[in-house]
Amino acid sequence: MSEPMNRLVTTPAAVGDSASNVASAAEPSAVFSVTDLNVFYGDFHAVKDVGVDVKEHEITAFIGPSGCGKSTVLRCFNRMNDLIETARVEGSVRYHGVDLYGNDVDPVQVRRHIGMVFQKPNPFPKSIYDNIAFGPRIAGFKGNMDDLVESSLDRAALWDEVKDILNQSAFALSGGQQQRLCIARAIATSPDVLLMDEPASALDPIATLRIEELMHELKSDYTIIIVTHNMQQAARVSDRTAFFNVSLNEKGQRTGHLVEFDETGTIFTNPAETATEDYITGRFG
């Protein structure tokens, strides 16, 4: 297995390195610390006063009805919202204590450390190999690319299925395989965090379960945040769940806010808020 090229944060696998070990002991255990997050699209107040802490090596799930801002919040974690011209983010999103929206922070660099997997599998129209190699290449990876491709595919539980067809188009794969390819592609740049925006919503149930299994395996190496409209999925995979809801503001616009954030077992067996219970029991609205 090749050396991770730009990993910053120690994982259990790398505990031998004393330097960052000592360092992390003094750090807060939260990978992300979000306070008073407000997101606007032009005049539209999309997300209001969100505060969450995301812990290392946990799977944190964001659930809630459509329009509740869960994806918007997720996209603040790697500054994908920057790509929308009218978007404006207020409040602080701290990543290992560093303000992601600080003045000298380069969003391109941020995204190299915080990987993302999207709703629909979106492989590049290139070979399987080149899909994985794209990220490392643009980041100037100098090591053995073959090894990196193999280890990334292996970690995404795809190596055995594709090792003989690495030069074929990624479109030859099934939807579930494509999504695992996208996960492998995200892993290949050695991120610390994986953001997953409804990663299984375009997949059939069995492929969905395989992705969920994969997430369980990946969480020993990565911190994972998943947005899902499927609360059963959140129930199955996550350690902590944040429930977002929509409310109408004074202008009659739909604004998302955080209702409850707790351990997933608590959220799904004994939620503190009535709104949460109504949502997860399907008595919403």
Partner: protein, 305 residues
């Protein structure tokens, strides 16, 4: 109580009207097909007549002088290729650059202004560009750079044709680039790629078959473009094979136009006027092949997304 039997046979009047309407539309479709058959037949008949009339060795004669019975295909095909190549050299970078700017860089607002303006270029009739090439590009641009430029020359015609096909190349390849799913761009940004990298390494290759289609289509248009070459390249009777694009020369369409202009007073050897149909048929098949090729590329692109 019993239910009365339900009549499901339908209103006969309504049924007759349906049939009539269908026949009308069918007739329109059939007529359209007949037109295409008419084109091919009218070409083939006279083209064959031309081949029977002339001494076939004259197709490889010295120069294109139809009134003297010399029909050297190499001359006009070569000149056509020269003009088309120049046109592509002009249109490819400008068209693709404009397409990528509009698709990837322009804000919605500037796109709303730039795109229709570019389309205006597409609306300029080719006679206008021919005149522009003859009376502006040649005297004001080319003679300044290359003092030996003839008044009618292939280079000016090629540039004029190139300008004419910029909007076509731009609009087809912009469609192809815009059809690349946003998801692919997001995937690229999500991996930490910059905008330029995303545009060049992800969007461009993903849209490649559509871009190739746009270039083939542009080439097809360039080969078939008549008025610009007729005005700016020197469509005055005959011509010898010409290697220097700064000199005038006869292209396939230019040759056709010049025969057409003289159509009521064409005199000369046998087949002089009918050579028009032979060249037309040749042109028809060349552009047909290119259009089919372009269609293939578009189809490949469509299947993907």
């Amino acid at each position: 109580m019993t239910t009365a039997a339900i009549d499901l046979s339908g209103d006969p009047k309504r049924k007759r009207r349906e049939r009539r309407v269908r026949v009308v539309f069918q007739a329109a479709a059939v007529f359209s097909v007949l037109v295409s058959a008419a084109i091919v037949l009218s070409l083939i008949g006279k083209a064959l007549g031309f081949l029977l009339e002339i001494d076939l060795s004259q197709l490889w004669a010295d120069g294109w002088f139809p009134r003297r019975g010399r029909f050297d295909l190499r001359t006009i095909i070569w000149h056509t290729l020269v003009v088309s190549a120049i046109a592509m050299v002009v249109a490819t970078p400008l068209g693709l650059g404009a397409a990528m700017y509009l698709s990837e860089y322009a804000s919605p607002r500037s796109r709303r202004i730039l795109k229709p303006t570019l389309e205006m270029l597409a609306g300029i009739p080719s006679v206008v560009l021919g005149f522009f090439a003859l009376k502006f590009i040649t005297p004001n641009v080319l003679t300044t750079i290359f003092p030996g430029t003839q008044q009618s020359n292939l280079l000016a015609a090629g540039i004029g044709v190139g300008i004419l096909i910029i909007p076509l190349v731009a609009s087809v390849s912009e469609d192809a680039m815009r059809a690349v799913p946003i998801a692919l761009r997001e995937a690229s940004y999500g991996l930490g790629a910059q905008k330029w990298r995303t545009s060049l390494s992800v969007v461009f290759p993903a849209a490649l078959s559509g871009i190739v289609a746009s270039l083939i289509l542009g080439l097809s248009r360039a080969i078939g473009e008549t008025m610009v070459v007729a005005i700016a390249a020197g469509a005055t009777g005959g011509s010898l094979l010409q290697v220097n694009p700064l000199n005038g020369g006869q292209t396939m369409t230019g040759a056709m136009a010049s025969l057409a202009i003289g159509s009521d007073q064409v005199v000369g050897e046998a087949g002089t006027f009918d050579s028009l149909f032979f060249v037309g048929l040749l042109l028809f098949f060349m552009t047909l092949a290119l259009n089919i090729a372009s269609e293939r590329f578009v189809k490949r692109f469509r299947q993907r997304y």
